[in-house]
Amino acid sequence: MKKYFLVRAMAMAEAQARNRNQLFPFNRFLCSSSNSSDLTLKNVTKSNFEPALAELRSHVREADFVSFDLEMTGVTSAPWRESFEFDRADIRYLKVKDSAEKFAVVQFGVCPFRWDSKNRSFIAHPHNFYVFPRQEIPGDGPSYEFSCQTTSLDFLAKYQFDFNACIYEGISYLSRRQEEEGLRRLNSVYNDESSESLSSSKAVADMQLVRMADILFAERMTNKIGEWRAGLLRDTNEGSEFQGSSNDTVQKLQTIFFKMRPALVLNVLTSRQLRLIELVIKKHFEDLVYVHATGEISCPQPLVVYTDSTTDRDLLMREIKHCRKNEAVTKIKAAVGFRHVIDLLSTERKLIVGHNCFLDIAHIYNKFVGPLPLTVEEYVSEVQKHFPYIVDTKVMLNSDSSFLHLVKKGSTSLSKAFTFLCPQIASPNVSSIVLADNPRIKVEVQVDDKRFSNWNSGAKHEAGYDAFMTGCVFAQACTHLGIDFNLHAPPVDLVHNEKLQKYINHLYLSWINGDVIDLRTGKCTADSLGSTNLKNRYPKILFSNIVILWDLPSNLKAREIKECMSKVFGTDSVTSVFHLDETAAFVQFSKQEFVSSFLELKDTLEQKYDPISVLHPLSKILEGGCTRAATYEIYKEICSSPISEVLFSNQAEAVGIEWRTRQLEPAVEVEKQEDRASSFSQDQDRKETSPITIAAGAPSSCHFPTDELVDSFYPVQAQLSK
């Protein structure tokens, strides 16, 4: 197959499509749009971005809400960075932050929905943007590199994602921060530069005429330019038209007007010759200026411009400088690219609808606004500035039992929800039974100028189509909530609709924990229904009671860890053990004291390597002398590192956790962090634990003479009961 000029020429597209069709029966490549009009999805690449953006502007302005969806090159940069039950809200944010910083967005679906009261239906305009962070301007582009998760690429490939379209034709972008930075740099360059140093090469002054050829050439050029100048002056004085003095000069020298001044065009000269000319002009002609900048519109060819006076000369210089700066600014503005779409959504302050979209929003922030803040509180307040109204359909579906009933207790994944809530759209061929209490919403799709009442591109996990599904689910959910679009005169004011208030700006921070974050306050609450089943599986998690162990002896099972711990701290001392990956595990104790006791004890045992420590029940965990342990806060520190090793123990080593000093941190510190943790979450259960002081955890009170350890298998228990 001829693959190296893919998607370049439209003429090739059809042949390509045929080629593809043989390989993939359900192809969804760009070119396929020409084959089957009923499956159209508005694909936008850099070639049709400008008109598509203009069109989208009007659609978004008229829209009642805009749904969106993203496709990324990956989700987690290491297995232990996946979402766990043992992740506190701040850890969860760190994981999302890491994901958004490392992976690239390759496809961006935007679908404005507008209520058409005449037809009593929604009109949707699904757009599918291919995005690629190409470096359009020199210097720090959007990003130097990005990560790909193998399984994610494979997943995209499974749904026939067109990587070529993305890399060849994807729309580039600059974040606001990058644009500001670029402009700032530009300003500093143009302000610093003295007007004289405009000539492209500063080395000109140093250039020496060494070679004979150079000297001859310089001599000849001096004469020629002198002649030309004399001719100009003569002509202006005599009022007659300028004529080329000799045949020879006419060939090489041609006069044009540059910024209202006569100028000599220097054609077909080497760069060395040009430099010589520049030198000659500097030396011999006060009223001539050499102007050259490669590849720019203001002055495409090298010129020698005649100026009346020094003031005129300075004026010309300023003009050229201004012109160049404008060009550079235009270039940067043009590089903004796809961010125009984000700016549009932001400035129009429309209701934004996504499905389980916390990570998506983080990507949008990181790619199109600026670097993600360090804490979740800062982040949510920043997000609110740009996107004041966000609805997460997954939260909507999970917070109401009637929805859960509708999706027949099935999962609330997007495609499932779409099939159950909007069967009339999902499978139009099957005549849907419209129940009296379940009015089905009608959605018409408009792609370019064509309207489809039965539109189904069927391309799941294509951002444009996913955005469309999300919008449909949202619209249907609104009707279930009792919002009657017919009662409202368009535009429908969804943003201030009372029935929607409890959903607006509530996003799943973590689906697995059922933690819903309120973007207005930064507070986390558990969702009322959705993941209750999941929650029951694990007992309440008290983060201050957790130690994290890593570099564990291989094949040590959670049960064995629990047994060892129980032998030392008592039968009920361990609430749960959870394996983070094959090298690391969380141990949650029933009492907070046990955390520091354990760390102390471990330290003592490791320092004295004698029969006592060999026989100690903990030796099974400490075997090999490599096992490391730390408090939950160290876990946070490890998560916040930009490094991502595949195994947790390697990660900890790479981050360079100096465990010995850290584990003995004074209790005050722990307490402080605990306060912070609880201020974050409104969870009443968690608050109860925070007042517990960590008296027993202080290093001094936890010193165990090793002799005692042999006698009692429950030394800590004994100590505590004293």
Partner: protein, 691 residues
């Protein structure tokens, strides 16, 4: 050249700058139609594997060339002229671990009387998790500029991701052995059954009689027709089953030892083929004995089993089969940038890269005994030329020397089917042939002895040092400063300077420094490493140390420099740069990395000065193990061996100083990896003060 031709030439020049698909294609047809590189994806891999196997065994050399998704995450992380072998390796290691190989071109070739016979293949790879075991790669990085370059060359990313060949490294295959679950009887090396215990012989005898009985029963039943019921009963009693159309018997085993015994015993029985039935966890659960009707039938079955194993290997190892083929052929491998290519090959197809260059070199040479770098050979001819890319090298040779090489490529281009991907591998072969001809090296090796390269080539083999040196000394600590200039200097005369105004030019910095202090009065040079970090070269020995001392003491320089210091100018020796690479502080700015490295050193020196807490002396007892290498285990901290004292025969008592337990851990870890006998007993940690 006629003016017309000149015009034509010009036109081509233009298209180079703005290549459109059409004339790109046109150009290819015109100039490269005689070259065809066979493109291999998942769909034609089996076929290509068979072909390349014969080509490899019939050729004298194998050229390789890789296309990666990137090479460095920040400008300073490239291999620079100022890098010594060690830092260059660490940088290459970092790249190999981070990025991915998407194309791997292999070209077995021979040079026979100025004729190059080449068989180029280009394999498209993608680290797909084919076996659902989270291998070979969880994630990888892509450098934008590399993707853009690949796109410009018309690389088909869809084909690569959809249809690329996956692989597992040797280490990964071992690690996943229990999850892959397949082992052939041939993998059980039967040891000379020296000491058979009574239990062993009882087991063997019992099994033997059972097998005999079963074999006889089967042969009997073949002869006379029996009642179906009796037949079934007999089968039940003897535990006989069918394997395909052949009868088979399952023998349960409960240890590796028994597996060996059974396999040994079955050798004596004619017409049976043993097969190992694995259980979960990689252990053997049972042995299936298949009875064949004749010797021919036995061969047939064995062939079948062998094919099955090959199929399985192909599925598991994927592209690594090709690497293994190259390795087992033991033929010289020719590449253009060996350090880069072989760190990638090692990390993707062999095992995780070791932490030291020497270890890397020695274990790599076990797999590929002869590695030739054309870039290195080039230096023989044009030592001062900047010939970093292949086309430049080839045209340089063409200009300067007359070395005509006829090229014969096995795959002929068919119309419309021109592929350029992987053409570098042909260029490498061509360049190598030309170089041999220019350097008067006879590349024709003896048919029967591939392992002995002609002595001329031998001295060029296995050099990984990226710098110009032809010295074989691995601890060569002289570096170059410029790409173009070959002037060399000891790393002791280098000082790194950072905290500079962003984007400052080397000339401007040099002007600022010039004459600001006595140390800058003699000859010195400035070279930018990245946008706000520079390296200063003092051509006068000893000035670098003086400068660093001055920076430390805060002695006043001239005003401009004082301002710079107040704005955060900092300096450090080359040692700090080495630590940055060793500690893996791969920050985007070298300045940040240097700051971090200094901070760490400072923390350690502070710890050293503190009493009691500070020095932890470890008594580590090892069984006959020397400590010579230990001093550089963690390079950053110079470990001191206090005393060595013999005690209890072969046991050595060693005391080492380390400052932080974490490093102790590293030492123990590295000892465990390096020593034949890992630490038997960790000594006690005792607090001790330094004398």
């Amino acid at each position: 050249m006629s003016p017309r031709l000149q015009m034509l030439h010009k036109r081509f020049f233009c298209t180079k700058i703005f290549p459109t698909a059409a004339d790109h294609h046109f150009r290819l047809r015109r100039h490269q139609n005689q070259w065809l590189i066979k493109q291999v994806t998942k769909s034609n891999f089996s076929e290509a594997l068979g072909e390349i196997r014969t080509h490899i065994s019939n050729s004298d050399f194998i050229a390789v060339s890789l296309q990666q998704t990137g090479a460095y995450s920040a400008p300073w992380q490239r291999v620079l002229p100022i890098d010594i072998a060690e830092t260059a390796y660490l940088k290459a290691k970092r790249a190999a671990e981070r990025f991915q190989v998407l194309q791997f071109a292999v070209c077995p070739f021979s040079v026979k009387a100025s004729k190059l016979i080449a068989h180029p293949y280009n394999f498209h790879l993608f680290p797909r998790d084919e076996l659902k075991i989270a291998m070979p790669s969880y994630s990888f990085s892509c450098q934008l500029s590399y993707l853009t370059t690949m796109a410009r060359e018309g690389f088909d990313f869809n084909a690569c991701i959809y249809d690329g060949i996956s692989y597992l490294s040797r280490a990964q295959e071992l690690a996943a052995a229990d999850r892959i679950g397949h082992s052939s009887p041939s993998s059980y090396v039967v040891p000379s059954s020296s000491a058979n215990s009574v239990a062993d012989s009882v087991f063997t005898e019992r099994t033997k009689s059972r097998v005999r009985h079963w074999v006889n029963a089967c042969k009997d039943s073949n002869k006379k027709t029996e009642d179906a019921l009796i037949n079934t009963l007999r089968k039940l009693v003897s535990g006989s089953e069918l394997y395909g159309s052949r009868p088979c018997l399952i023998i349960n085993v409960c240890s590796e030892r028994q597996v060996q015994l059974v396999l040994e015993m079955l050798k004596e029985v004619v017409d049976v083929v043993p097969m190992v039935v694995p259980a979960r966890g990689g252990e053997v659960q049972a042995i299936r004995v298949v009875l064949t009707s004749s010797e021919e039938d036995k061969n047939l079955l064995e062939k079948e089993l062998q094919d099955m194993e090959e199929e399985h290997n192909k599925r598991v190892r994927g592209f690594r089969e090709v690497i293994d083929l190259i390795s087992t052929s033991q033929k010289p491998v020719v590449a253009h940038n060996t350090l880069n290519d072989f760190t990638f090959i090692y990390s993707k197809f062999l095992a995780p890269l070791p932490s030291s260059m020497d270890e890397f070199r020695s274990s790599l040479l076990l797999v590929f005994p002869h590695i030739l770098d054309v870039n290195h050979l080039m230096k023989e001819i044009g030592p001062f030329e900047k010939l970093n890319n292949l086309p430049a090298s080839i045209s340089y040779l063409r200009r300067k020397f007359f070395a005509p090489i006829d090229m014969e490529v096995s795959h002929r281009a068919e119309a419309d089917n021109v592929q350029i991907h992987g053409r570098n591998v042909l260029r490498i072969s061509e360049l190598f042939a030309k170089l041999c001809s220019v350097l008067k090296i006879n590349p024709e090796t003896f048919e029967d002895d591939y392992c002995h390269l002609s002595s001329a080539l031998q001295c060029h083999a296995n050099t990984f040092n990226p710098s110009l040196t032809s010295s074989e000394d691995p601890i060569d600590e002289d570096v170059r400063i410029w790409n173009k200039n070959s002037r060399r200097i000891s790393i002791n005369n280098l000082v790194l300077l950072w905290g500079l105004e962003s984007g400052i030019s080397a000339a401007k910095l040099k002007a600022l420094l010039h004459g600001s202090h006595e140390v800058f009065s003699k000859e010195f040079d400035v070279q930018m490493v990245d946008k706000n970090c520079a390296v200063i070269v003092f051509w006068t020995t000893g000035f670098s140390d003086r400068f660093l001392r001055i920076m430390d003491s805060g002695e006043i320089f001239c005003e401009s420099l004082k301002d710079m210091i107040s704005e955060g100018l900092a300096a450090a020796s080359y040692k700090t740069y080495r630590s940055v690479c060793k500690l893996g502080l791969w920050e985007a700015d070298l300045a940040d990395a240097l700051d971090k490295a200094l901070e760490k050193t400072k923390r350690l020196t502070e710890a050293k000065s503190e009493e009691d807490l500070s020095i932890l002396c470890t008594v580590v007892r090892f069984k006959s193990c020397s400590f010579g290498f230990l001093v550089d285990v963690d390079g950053f901290f110079d470990l001191e061996a206090f005393w060595t004292e013999e005690c209890q025969g072969t046991w050595l008592l060693n005391v080492l100083t380390v400052t932080v337990p974490m490093n102790l851990r590293n030492i123990i870890k590295s000892l465990g990896e390096t020593c034949p006998n890992p630490p038997l007993m960790l000594g006690r940690l005792i607090s001790k003060q330094l004398p």
